[in-house]
Symmetry: C2
Subunit: 242 residues, 2 copies
DNA sequence: CGGTTCTTTGACGAGATTCAATGCCGGTGG
DNA sequence: CCACCGGCATTGAATCTCGTCAAAGAACCG
């Protein structure tokens, strides 16, 4: 069992980044039963109303959490990148209160909830890491309430992109100067509470101001300090756990 | 030490509502060191940027979590009522990423974070209750992202009031037919991403439609099914842990 | 290539903000 | 006891941001 190719390696790396683990912790983590899966773009990973029995680790690709309004409108409440645990938010809840969907083709690892709960209680360091991860997600939700509730459209779009870039860069998925951007403008709209048309206009303005450059699927920030300023972006809410 | 007058009784009640505790669990919980405090309305309980060493239980009164935009705008991201634990969101984080303020005169109990972390790890039932409580708060944040991002002003205000009423009623603070409402219209605006002026207009419409009746500090719902419908309110996201 | 999805742009309209003025209520002090 | 004051609620008018509708162009996929 070479840990370098172990399917749970991404989970181990994630937890290691958050907490200091003993040998025993690491062995226990890698011993958790699991199954590997693949999924196409735009499929449900978790569906609102489900009773989740497994917890999902995103190994490759991009995903988004979302909720539906009764009028059919969709609100994305966070996005996720390779290495993220998608389901800690439901670890101790009966029913899923939101959905998670793949935004690209994705590679997943599924782990039994029960096994993760046991792991967390028997290995406090791992338990703490899970806590921290869930709390950082919650902090991101709070920031999104602020983003959607109190910032104007341009700032809002820029802020959402800043967060994406900072988290992606921390995960080694690209650089500020050139980052894969796997969202349609409609999805950016669903994340910012705007229409796709208006997102397009805001991206145009940010482009015209020389802050960013866009080619299909790729975002390049030309002036990172200026872009962060336009976004009123302050990374403190990510608790450096990005 | 009569548990009925014990300062930690509200915490015990809260945890009991969420998880089943053993005798030993309850004894341990009541043995946590703590100090009782009072605070005036509109004071900081937790301040963004602080390194919190104590966790706060709201025993009496009302409080709100909020974040500031750089332009000075304020966004309330959740409100809290008697019995709520205010600080679990920072239990495993270094720095507070948001503030909590009293909205009325309030009675508080302060508990050392370390003691709570130990309590949670040594008493799994209590640990699970804390997890669940934190996850329900996170679920509420997600619903607020949806509320602020995708619902029109009237629905938004109604939804925010519905949540307040359901949670307050569950905590025994009043009934749908008559509930203390300790918010100014400005605060409702800060919670819904609207201006106080527009909140006023929406409340007027809801009143004119015969759904609610308002007297200073008190909200009466005249048509609860109709009001919930106007709010597109579905309590599932509260996970019955209201 | 042909169809589909995504992006882009313009014209128009609706919903929310802003500004401003008035009224109401509770508290305070003469 | 009542006049005054400050905070909050209420309302109207003008303005502006963002949404809606529509059409054309660009990129992607089989």
């Amino acid at each position: 069992m070479h840990s370098i190719t172990h399917p749970l390696q991404p989970l181990l790396s994630k937890v290691r980044r958050i907490a200091r683990l003993s040998e025993a912790d690491e062995r226990a983590l890698l011993a958790v039963p699991h199954r590997v899966g693949r999924i196409d773009a735009n499929r449900y990973i978790i569906r609102e109303g489900d009773v989740p029995r497994e917890c999902c680790l995103l190994v490759e690709g991009y995903a988004a959490r979302s909720k539906l309004a009764t009028d059919g409108g969709r609100q994305i409440v966070s996005f996720h990148i390779a290495g993220d645990i998608l389901d800690l938010q439901h670890l101790f809840l009966e029913r899923a209160d939101h959905s998670v969907q793949s935004m690209t083709d994705a590679k997943l690892v599924w782990l039994p909830m029960v096994a993760l709960r046991d792991l967390a209680s028997e290995h406090p360091a791992i338990g703490t890491a899970f806590w921290r991860d869930a709390l950082v997600d919650a902090s991101i939700f709070r920031e999104w309430v602020l983003n959607v509730g109190r910032r104007d459209a341009k700032t809002r779009v820029a802020h959402m992109l800043c967060e994406f870039i900072v988290r992606s860069e921390a995960a080694g998925l690209g650089t500020v100067e050139s980052m894969r951007l796997p969202f349609t403008q409609e999805q950016i709209g669903d994340a910012t509470g705007l229409t796709a048309v208006h997102v397009n206009r805001m991206l145009r303005e940010l482009t015209d101001e020389g802050l960013i450059e866009r080619t299909p699927g790729v975002l390049r920030v030309l002036d990172w300090p200026g872009f962060k300023r336009a976004a009123t972006f302050n990374a403190a809410y990510l608790h450096a756990a990005a």
